[in-house]
């Protein structure tokens, strides 16, 4: 046994994970995709429906843009947070971590209801604003795209902060001192030395947030408006309501392919490959 591990080391070690992935993910997903081509009326009827009914392309486009917007918002909010987390010590660090992680452990539905209570026109925030005389009628913060972005960004923030903080913690603080001693202003040192060093973490976070966001359906369904239909909602509908699994498979395939295409673009122009250490 030990001999085998030594000789085929890496392969033996990845075997359990590989089998799990193959059996529980690749196989069923492959089956679902196969059924999407298996209609007696023709192999591509489901894909034809997706391409000819404007609903689906519009939903796919909306899914991609909302996910990208969520990733961007997470980066803007997450970067300073990760920076501060990395600089803090002791109790403060624990508190920041706690604030980031507590939402992580809360049920999605509960969080969505929480946001509705806060954001709706009769809700806590609008009530306070009216009380202070800042607005007359309520601000439209929920049941529209704003609500979806608020909800999704909050949920996805940890996926951005944690990889960023991990990268930041590996940066040698003396690098910044060196930049300063060589005459860089604090601003220049930050922008030209620190930020480039965190780029892989930022890209990793963006990618993670974007990809996970593509599969959201509870949050947009609850916090969104009439136009905030995401692809996962349509997939869920076809899986659980009309039992049209082949069509659900076709929708999933389109989502998968568009993600891969985007990834290929990202790899070509942003060098995403660096993230996995395969330079």
């Amino acid at each position: 046994m030990m001999h085998a591990v030594r000789r085929h080391g890496p392969y033996v070690l990845i075997l359990p994970g590989f089998m799990l992935l193959a059996g529980l993910f690749v196989l069923p997903v492959g089956q679902l995709l196969a059924t999407s081509f298996g209609d007696p009326a023709g192999s591509f009827v489901h894909y034809e429906r997706i391409l000819t009914q404007p609903v689906y392309l519009r939903v796919i486009l909306r899914t991609l843009t909302l996910s990208a917007a969520t990733a961007a918002l997470c980066l803007i909010l997450g970067y300073p947070l990760a920076y501060q987390l990395n600089r803090s010590k002791g109790v403060a660090r624990g508190l920041i971590l706690l604030c980031i992680l507590i939402p992580f452990w809360t049920n999605l539905l509960v969080r969505s209801y929480g946001w509705i209570v806060l954001l709706n026109p009769q809700g806590v925030i609008n009530g306070a604003l009216r009380e202070a005389g800042l607005v007359e009628s309520g601000l439209p913060l929920v049941y529209n795209t704003t609500g979806v972005l608020i909800g999704m960004t909050q949920i996805m923030l940890p996926y951005m902060v944690l990889p960023l903080a991990a990268v930041m913690s590996r940066i040698d603080p003396r690098v910044m001192d060196a930049a300063r001693s060589l005459g860089a202003s604090p601003r220049a040192a930050f922008l030209k030395v620190y930020v480039p060093l965190t780029l892989t973490g930022a890209l990793g976070g963006v990618l993670l947030v974007f990809m996970i966001s593509l599969g959201f359906f509870v949050v947009p369904a609850m916090l969104g408006g009439q136009r905030d239909i995401l692809l996962a909602q349509l997939i869920e509908f076809n899986v659980n309501q009309t039992l049209n699994w082949p069509f659900a498979g076709a929708l999933s395939a389109v989502l998968l392919v568009s993600t891969l295409v985007l990834y290929a673009f990202g790899d070509r122009f942003l060098g995403l490959r660096r993230l996995w250490g395969a330079e």
Binding site: R62, Q122, Q226, N238
Partner: protein, 358 residues
């Protein structure tokens, strides 16, 4: 589980030593050989929607059923059509009775997922007639409706569906269930002057055109809990919601009144997934739930109407009045065309989504 069953007879009696020894021994046996006992104890698995509804069914139906037949009812949650299909297709049917919405009466058999109901065991003669409530593969379980609830500041409130769509007369948001079969398409057509008797097949373009007239005032809700919240804090002036939710919100102090006359009657159904090994027990349970007494009992503990009209005779009038199918709705409620929905849900959903995105 076997343990509890065996020790049950001793409750309420003085326990003497011999009895204690006997039962003690028996329960020891139960612990040491649970699989043997479970094989002997008859059981039926009911896939429910959970929550307070399941608790109500346990009191009104499952406990008396077990007392009468000795068959235990085990409940499981997470009941979706997708899981029924996955179960049947994988050849391992663990659920014996499933409660479903009526569209599944047609979606299920089309995909070969259901066992026919044994009408030698299940008495269908007492069930409310008409409206495709009974099929070869399903029987109705209870009645519920989607009805108009409105904020008290609207005074006497909408008297017709035309009023529901009149935002000048009754300003404020309208809360509709987001799924296409949430009855708002029907409401739009009735508001537009369609004869209730000629509602189906629904004229979808006409319904959407009518919906467009109040588009900015529509707030779709995803879950019923959300609908209750919208009624309670006044986000919605008018809501088209399940009757149970409106009643619940009102009894918890929501500032709303209910317009029982503006309602769409529908029902939930019971089906038996294909391949169950406990078909006989499943049929027995279904038959029990459809007796006049069982239907009255459930209507006493939960705000769903009985599908057996004679059960209303066993209910106090103040209870009957608030229930679906009760006197306040007689002759006024529009019965949902569930068969039409079962066949058209997919296509109509596509049209409604296109409208939502436009």
């Amino acid at each position: 589980m076997g343990n509890r069953r065996i020790s049950a007879p001793s409750s309420g009696k003085a326990i003497d030593r011999r009895l204690l020894l006997k039962f003690g021994g028996a329960s020891l046996l139960a612990v040491s050989a649970p699989s043997v006992l479970r094989a002997q104890a008859k059981e039926v698995v009911f896939a429910s929607w959970g929550g307070s509804w399941e608790a109500a069914m346990r009191e009104a139906w499952f406990k008396p059923f077990t007392a009468k037949t000795g068959i235990e009812v085990r409940t499981v949650q997470g009941n979706t059509y997708g899981r029924v299909q996955a179960m049947v297709e994988s050849g391992r049917t663990d659920w014996d009775v499933v409660e479903v919405l009526p569209d599944f009466q047609w979606i299920g058999p089309k995909r070969g997922l259901l066992e026919p109901i044994d009408f030698n065991v299940v008495d269908k003669s007492q069930i409310m007639p008409g409206a495709d409530m009974i099929t070869e593969y399903s029987v109705p379980q209870v009645l519920f409706s989607r009805l108009v609830a409105y904020n008290k500041k609207l005074g006497a409130g909408p008297q017709s569906f035309a009023d529901v769509f009149d935002t000048k007369k009754f300003p404020g948001k309208r809360a509709f269930y987001t799924k296409a079969n949430g009855a708002y398409l029907e409401a739009a057509l009735l508001a537009d002057g369609v004869d209730p008797a000629k509602l189906y097949p629904l004229d979808i373009p006409r319904a959407l055109k009518k919906l467009s007239t109040i588009r900015d005032d529509i707030q779709f809700y995803e879950t019923n809990a959300q609908a209750e919240q919208m009624m309670s804090d006044g986000q919605a002036a008018i809501a088209l919601t399940p009757d149970g939710r409106a009643l619940n919100a009102r009894s918890h102090g929501a500032p709303i009144d209910i317009q029982f006359g503006l309602s769409f009657l529908t029902w939930s159904a019971m089906v038996v997934p294909k391949g169950t090994t406990r078909k006989a027990e499943a049929m027995q349970l279904i038959a029990f739930c459809l007796t006049r007494e069982a239907q009255a009992e459930i209507a006493k503990v939960y705000t769903y109407g009985p599908v057996v009209p004679k059960a209303f005779e066993l209910l106090p009038p103040e209870r009957a009045n608030i229930l679906s199918g009760g006197p306040q709705m007689q002759g006024k409620a529009v019965i949902m065309g569930e068969k039409w929905w079962g066949e058209n849900l997919s296509g109509v959903t596509e049209q409604v989504n296109a409208w939502k995105l436009s």
